[in-house]
């Protein structure tokens, strides 16, 4: 007798071969989608959102592209997820990780069709990934001791990261900026303290790193526009009407005079507060919340610069830069730490006025001002710079570096190939496949640059047969070149994350032999 259906309506079930097919195809489709953005000559994608305004994004950042896609295939979602994690964890290599996972699955598919069990493939992949990691570890360079060399390593890494992005024209300029910014963080990975201000107009080359701090706010009317040797109080307090917070309190009066009295008392209270603030002996007051006209006027009278409505991050950064503490009560002026800076002035960038704090006491935070032709360019520039900053901040903590340009992949592939030759049993097929998948990355880089990938990769492979070779693909000259000479470096941490995440994701998808899709949740009909 026929089996009653077990699942709810609309739910579907894919089994065995079909399930595997569905996940392979889904994952490979996603990988192919971002494949063409890989490498220095990778192309960009235009993304148009379906939301209001149909806003357009132009990018070649893998994570950004994948994040914006609405994907239904569950295996594809796994790949989107690894790309996102890569972005959160190391910031760069978001495309590579997806491409590598896709290639691993493509190779796995071939093996499955030649009747090798997925578990055997997984076992092989694991061995291969371990071996590849060892190979990388053997060849890493660490220049932590030598500050000068370390800095030049960082420069090279930043340039390598940036060269695949829109900033490639001015990569030296931006790399310099990024490295300077990172050195200011002094080992912290909190990129929040690097503020990126985007102002359309000018050209990308006009972007600069400010050694001080820039706040995207205006100075109140009638207040000094320029303060030297500023003492800054950074505050987070209500400067509108200071409400009585005791629960249930309300004002109830029976005559107009009383209203006036209370109003007067309120004003008095505000005035008190302002006086207390002034008692700190400051000449600049920055508040996170609004400052109403009345207190603003009081500040203006006292010749104090009052800046309202700085957002929370702005306040935090300002606290970091000037070394002041964020205050909310003002009763003990002597013990509140004030921030200091040499000069506060209003500057113009493009059409906008900004407040510039220079000569700050502690340089832990900084601002980067990006200029560019349009919002799209600026957005993309910010993403690129963010990638570079992420990689650099991670490299500062883990200073091991590798060469770039397909060099690490070739090194790994060689070691993995050797392992395959030594391994007995069916696993060796999987290990071989792993090495093929690794080679696919330099192949893609070459293809994207319009080069003869088959020729170049074969040359590379031959060169890498010699121990200690530094050959990689030099996309600019279109030939195989010495990566150390060209100064193409990559961070070890990024490469390792790419390798491990991609293998893990491939393994996860390979292990699946059944896909059960639940019925989509019904949206209630809104009238």
């Amino acid at each position: 007798m026929p089996i009653d259906k077990i699942f709810k309506d609309d739910a579907s079930e894919e089994k065995g071969e079909r399930a595997r097919m569905a996940s392979f195809i889904g994952a490979m489709a996603v990988a192919d989608l971002v494949k063409s953005t890989l490498g220095p000559k990778g192309m960009d994608k235009i993304l148009q959102s379906t939301g209001r305004g149909h806003s357009v994004t132009v990018t070649n950042d893998g994570a950004t592209i994948l994040k914006s896609l609405h994907i239904d295939n569950p295996a594809a979602k796994v790949l989107v997820d690894i790309s996102k994690v890569q972005d959160d964890e190391v910031g760069d290599g978001t495309t590579s990780v997806v491409v590598l996972a896709g290639e691993l699955l493509r190779e796995a598919e071939k093996l499955v069709t030649s009747k090798i069990h997925p578990m055997t493939i997984i076992a092989g992949y694991r061995m291969a990934a371990e071996c590849a990691r060892e190979a990388l570890l053997k060849r890493v360079m660490d220049n932590k001791e030598n500050a000068e060399k370390f800095r030049s390593d960082l420069m090279k890494i930043a340039m390598t990261t940036l060269c695949s992005k829109i900033l490639s024209q001015d990569k030296e300029h931006f790399a310099e900026m990024a490295v300077d910014a990172i050195f200011r963080l002094k080992g912290s990975t909190n990129l929040e303290s690097i503020q990126i201000i985007k102002k359309p107009g000018g050209s990308l080359r006009d972007s600069f790193l400010d050694e001080g701090f820039i706040l995207d706010k205006k100075i109140g009317i009638g207040q000094p526009k320029r303060i030297e040797n500023a003492k800054i109080l950074v505050a987070n307090t209500a400067m509108d009407t200071d409400k009585v917070k005791i629960y249930g309190a309300r004002v109830r009066v029976d005559s107009m005079t009383k209203v006036a009295e209370i109003e007067g008392a309120e004003k008095e209270k505000m005035k008190d507060k302002v006086n207390k603030i002034l008692a700190h002996g400051i000449n600049c007051f920055v508040n996170r919340q609004l400052i109403y006209n009345f207190p603003e006027e009081l500040f203006a009278d006292a010749g104090v610069l009052a800046i309202e409505h700085a957002d929370f991050e702005g306040i935090e950064r300002l606290g970091l830069v000037t070394g002041g503490e964020i205050a909310s009560t003002f009763d003990n002026p002597e013990s509140v730490k004030l921030g200091h800076c040499k000069l506060i002035e209003e500057i113009m960038i493009g059409e906008d006025k900004l407040i510039h704090f220079s000569g700050v006491a502690m340089g832990q935070a900084c601002s980067i001002v990006l200029r560019g032709a349009s919002h799209h360019v600026l957005d993309e520039a910010e993403r690129s710079l963010h990638d570079a900053l992420c990689v650099l901040s991670q490299t500062v903590n883990d200073s091991r570096v590798l060469l770039g340009g397909g060099w690490p992949e070739m090194v790994m592939a060689k070691e993995v190939d050797e392992l395959a030759r030594k391994t007995a049993g069916k696993k060796s097929h999987a290990i071989e496949a792993f090495s093929r998948a690794l080679v696919a990355i330099p192949t893609t880089i070459a293809d994207n640059a319009g080069l003869d990938s088959a020729e170049l990769v074969a040359q590379l492979r031959a060169k890498h047969h010699n121990e200690g070779c530094n050959a990689g693909i030099d996309v600019i000259s279109g030939a195989v070149g010495d990566m150390e000479e060209r100064g193409i470096y990559e961070a070890f941490k990024v490469k390792q994350a790419v390798l491990l995440s991609a293998t893990e994701a491939a393994e996860m998808i390979l292990r699946v032999d059944e896909i059960i899709t639940c019925a989509p949740r019904r949206r209630e009909d809104r009238m």
Binding site: M1, I3, K5, F7, K8, D9, A11, P74, A75, V78, D81, V85, Q86, D87, D88, E89, V90, V97, P118, M119, S188, T189, N190, N236, V244, K245, I246, Y247, G248, A249, R250, V251, R252, K258, I262, G264, A265, K269, E316, E325, I326, A327, S328, T329, N332, C390, S393, L500, S501, E504, A505, M508, R511, V512, D513, E514, I515, I516, C518, R521
Partner: protein
């Protein structure tokens, strides 16, 4: 649907809206139910064992889960069929009771149903089959008791526990680092276990996960991990020898619960209220300071002013900490949860050797470690790694299974050998016992023995071995040498002796599997009428 007619040819209406319902009766009902049960079991069958495959499940909101944990698969499957729901319940109760073997129990029930179908075809009455199964399960459970072994461990020698946890983990995706994860699980359980009473409260073990990093970075923290950061960005990030005040009252002016209104009608009143308000904050902070607290953990939020006062008086604070975490912190640090500032006393403070904030990755994510606690009865397993959140979820589930196994062993030290060895031994025992029962039940008992074989069979199948060949070889080996330790060699190690391979399972887990599966099958067999609304 069968209808009854009265003498005038009118149908009797027995059920409401009778013609809209479908009804299956007698043997048809049993067959249909068995088919549904088998269908569920078939889905899980390929997930059994160390070489079992995973299932990918897409939830109603498009979220993806990848797992091979039986209970999770069934729970997320969103089944509609009544019998299938019974199977889901079955797996869940195994999960609650034992925590491991959730796949095995469903496969076992499926096999029992399949055998029952054959007996039904022979014309044996379902109740007789159920009775036979009941007898057989008793024989099997007794036999398990007989072949089980006590194994000795104590706090210093926990190697056997690690071995057992490794068996559990080897079927999961995390088997790459099963050794280290098993050690973590065992250490965690031992840390919170009450060895005197042989009890473990798993609530004291918190499992936290964060994507990124490596699986190897997973660590056991003798303390608590809170996914929060200090309330003020400039508070110290590290506190040694912390005295912790655990508060469930907000740093805000009190809100009396009775309805009231404070009317402000004169300037004086306005002034007094204002003063009072300031005093409140001041008193609160002073109170904490007075009792000697160096860290405040609060369930609620703080007012901006209170926040600054705390910071100003050099009293770090954490806000919006969830109730469960708060309780754990209280247990770990030996502090008391204080609901009112007035009740704060030095004795009620919790103590921790080290509290520190740690940041991860490139995003601004921080976590608070509370370590070296006064009373380290609460621990946290912090899972790192995994390229994505599905991996973290799966690791969490795997760790949970391992924890459960370790707990079961502390409760009951008996183990049986895994890899299908226990099932094969039971099958032999049940088969031998069958001849002693006169009556029709004998057939049912034999069927039960055959059903027991299906677990090792599935194991062999999933490992890419010839199922029938392998099973019969192992079976004859067990019988010949009369040693119940031979099982299926899933990992291709080259020996069938599960003692050498160190594959153990807990005795209560196995017994529970057999009992639960038998119970559900009995229940399904007893149904002879299914009435359901066909369309609605």
């Amino acid at each position: 649907m069968a209808l009854a007619f009265d003498e005038f040819g009118r149908p009797f209406i027995i059920l409401r809206e009778q013609d809209q319902k479908t009804r299956l009766r007698g043997i048809d009902a049993q067959k249909a139910n068995i088919a549904a049960g088998k269908a569920v079991a078939r889905i899980l069958r390929s997930s059994l064992g160390p070489k079992g495959m995973d299932k990918m499940l897409q939830g109603p909101d498009g979220d993806v889960t990848i797992t091979n944990d039986g209970a999770t698969i069934l729970e997320q499957m969103d089944v509609d069929n009544q019998i299938a729901k019974l199977m889901v319940e079955l797996s869940r109760s195994q999960d609650y009771e034992i925590g491991d073997g959730t796949t095995g129990v469903v496969v076992m029930a499926g096999a029992l149903l399949e055998q029952a179908e054959r007996q039904l075809d022979r014309g044996i009455h379902p109740i007789r089959i159920a009775e036979g199964y009941e007898m057989a399960s008793r024989v099997a459970v007794e036999h398990l008791e007989r072949i089980s072994q006590k194994f000795e461990f104590d706090v210093n020698n926990y190697e056997p526990l690690v071995q057992t946890c490794m068996t559990t983990l080897s079927s999961k995706i995390v088997n790459r680092c099963k050794r280290s994860l098993a050690e973590i699980a065992v250490k965690a359980v031992l840390a919170v276990a009450d060895l005197e009473r042989r009890d473990v409260n798993l609530d004291l073990i918190k499992v936290e996960g964060k994507v990124g990093g490596n699986l190897e970075d997973t660590e056991l923290i003798y303390g608590i991990l809170v996914d929060k950061d200090m309330s003020h960005p400039q508070m110290p990030k590290q506190i040694e020898d912390a005295h912790i005040a655990i508060l469930t009252c907000p740093f805000e002016p009190p809100k009396p619960k009775t309805k009231h209104k404070v009317d402000i009608d004169t300037v004086e009143k306005f002034e007094t209220l204002r003063k009072q308000e300031q005093q409140y904050f001041d008193e609160m902070v002073q109170k904490c300071k007075d009792v000697g607290a160096t860290l405040v953990i609060c369930q609620w939020g703080f007012d901006d002013e209170a926040n600054h006062l705390l910071m100003h008086r050099n009293l770090p604070a954490v806000r919006w900490v969830g109730g469960v975490e708060l309780e754990l912190i209280a247990i770990a640090t030996g502090g008391r949860i204080v609901p009112r500032f007035q009740e704060l006393t030095p004795e009620k403070l919790g103590k921790a050797g080290m509290v520190r904030e740690k940041s991860f990755g490139t995003t601004k994510e921080r976590m608070l470690y509370i370590e070296h606690c006064a009373n380290s009865k609460a621990v946290t397993i912090f899972i790192r790694g995994g390229s994505n959140k599905m991996m973290i979820e799966e690791t969490k589930r795997s760790i949970h299974d391992a924890l459960c196994v370790a707990r079961n062993l502390i409760r009951n030290k008996s183990i049986v050998y895994g890899g299908g060895a226990a099932e094969i031994a039971c099958s032999l025992a049940v088969d031998a016992a069958a001849d002693k029962y006169p009556g029709v039940e004998q057939y049912a008992i034999r069927a039960f023995a055959e059903a027991l074989d299906s677990v090792p069979m599935a194991l062999a199948e999933n490992s890419g071995l010839q199922p029938i060949e392998t099973l019969s070889a192992v079976k004859s080996q067990q019988l010949k040498e009369n040693i119940p330790f031979y099982g299926i060699d899933c990992n291709d190690v080259g020996t069938n002796d599960m003692r050498e391979q160190n594959v153990f399972e807990t005795l209560i887990g196995k017994q529970q599997q057999i009992l639960l599966a038998t119970q559900v099958v009995k229940m399904i067999l007893k149904i002879d009428d299914v009435i359901s609304n066909s369309e609605y």
